[in-house]
Point group: C2
Chain length 206, copies 2
C-alpha cells in the first residue's frame, strides 16, 4: 500500500519517540504520542492504520511491536548506500549524523574538488576527488548522491553526477537542478521548510 | 487564505527557478516550471492560483510579477530574527547559508557551551555562551531558535531554551522535544525526508 509523504514523515517521528522509551515502558497510547508532537490523537491512530501489525491492545500499543512494524513498513532494513558530494560544513554534518545508519542510509564516502579536503576522513568516511566518482559509484554500486556543494556549483555538479551514473540526488542546495529524466531529484528545501513553519504559525493565529 | 504546506514548499521552489532566470527571460510557462521540477503542469497552475497577482498572460507568466507575488504571499519581507543553538558542523553550515536572508530569516548569533567555540565568529555571527541566551533573546527580541546540538543534548537544551523565553524551535535533531505548550516545535526531520524519498521511488516503480 502506498503511504502518503506526510504519513511517512510522521511515522518516522513516532519511531523517534519509541526509540526513546525506557525499557519498562511496554505500552504507549496514541494520546501520549499525539501530545509529544502536539497533534491530534485521531491523526496518530489514522497513521498507524497504514501499518500491518501495529501491536494495538487494550492499554495502547505494544511499543516494541509498533516500532518493528514502522521499521518494516518504511523499509529501514533495506540498506541504501550513498555518497556525500561536497565536504563543507553541511556535508561534514551529514557525514557525522550517525542516526542515518539506523534508518537504512549508509554513507560510504565523500567527494570534493578541494585538494585540502581530498584524503581527509570525516567520521570514518574518506573524502575523494570528485573526478573519481564515476569509477567508485560503479565499483561500489552506489546510485544515491547527497548534494551539499555551494549554491553556485550545484547545477554543474548535478550534471556531472548524472554523467557519472548517479540515479538519485538528495539536493540540499537552494537550486533547482536540471538533470536527465532518469535521474531523480529530491529537494531538501530548507527555505520552504522555514516558510511552512512561519506560515503555519500565522494560520493558527488567525 | 491559508496555503497548504506542500504548496508553500512548491511555491518556494518556483521562486528558486524565477531567481535563476536570465534578465532577458521575461516570461515563463507552467510547463517549463513543471518540467524542471518533474511534476505535472496542472499542479503548477493550481499552486499559482493561491497567489494574488500571478502575472498570468497569453505567453505564460510575467516572471518578475510572479516572483514578487510569491514573495508577498509567503512573507519574505517579514524579517524574522533567529539564533542558532549548537555551533557544530550543522550549525556552522546553516550560519553560512546566506540564502536564508533573502527569504526573511535573519540569523543574529549562535550559542554553544564549548569554551573553544565561544567567542569565535562564523560568517559574521558571534558564538555566545549558551547561558547568555535568555538575556540576549529578551534584549534583541528573538523568539526563534534553530536547534543543531548533538542528539544527546537535544531535549535538555530545548527545555533550557523554553525557560530562556524562546517561543519557536526549528529542530534539526532526530529527537522529539518535550517543551511547554506555548513553545512551538518544527521538526526538520531529515530521516523522514530520506524515507519519503526512497518510498516515493518505490511507489513509482510499482
Amino acid at each position: 500500500m502506498s503511504i502518503p509523504d506526510k504519513v511517512v514523515n510522521r511515522l518516522s517521528l513516532y519511531h523517534f519517540i519509541l526509540e526513546d522509551l525506557r525499557d519498562d515502558e511496554q505500552y504507549i497510547s496514541s494520546t501520549k504520542i499525539a501530545q509529544l508532537l502536539n497533534i491530534d490523537d485521531s491523526q496518530v491512530r489514522k497513521d498507524i492504520k497504514y501499518l500491518d501489525n501495529s501491536g494495538k491492545c487494550r492499554v495502547g500499543y505494544d511499543a516494541k511491536k509498533l516500532k518493528k512494524s514502522i521499521e518494516n513498513c518504511l523499509g529501514f532494513e533495506q540498506k541504501r548506500d550513498a555518497f556525500i558530494v561536497g565536504a563543507g560544513n553541511l556535508g561534514a554534518a551529514l557525514a557525522k549524523y550517525d542516526s542515518f545508519k539506523d534508518y537504512g542510509l549508509n554513507i560510504l564516502a565523500m567527494f570534493d574538488n578541494n585538494s585540502k579536503k581530498i584524503g581527509t576522513i570525516i567520521n570514518g568516511k574518506e573524502v575523494f576527488d570528485i573526478t573519481r566518482i564515476a569509477n567508485l559509484s560503479s565499483r561500489l554500486n552506489v546510485e544515491i548522491a547527497i548534494l551539499t556543494v555551494p549554491k553556485e556549483f550545484a547545477k554543474g555538479t548535478a550534471q556531472y553526477l548524472a554523467g557519472a551514473g548517479i540515479k538519485y540526488i538528495w539536493n540540499f542546495t537552494p537550486c533547482i537542478l536540471d538533470v536527465p529524466k532518469d535521474v531523480k531529484v529530491w529537494n531538501e528545501n530548507l527555505i520552504g521548510s522555514f516558510l511552512q513553519f512561519t506560515n503555519s504559525d500565522e494560520k493558527e493565529e488567525k
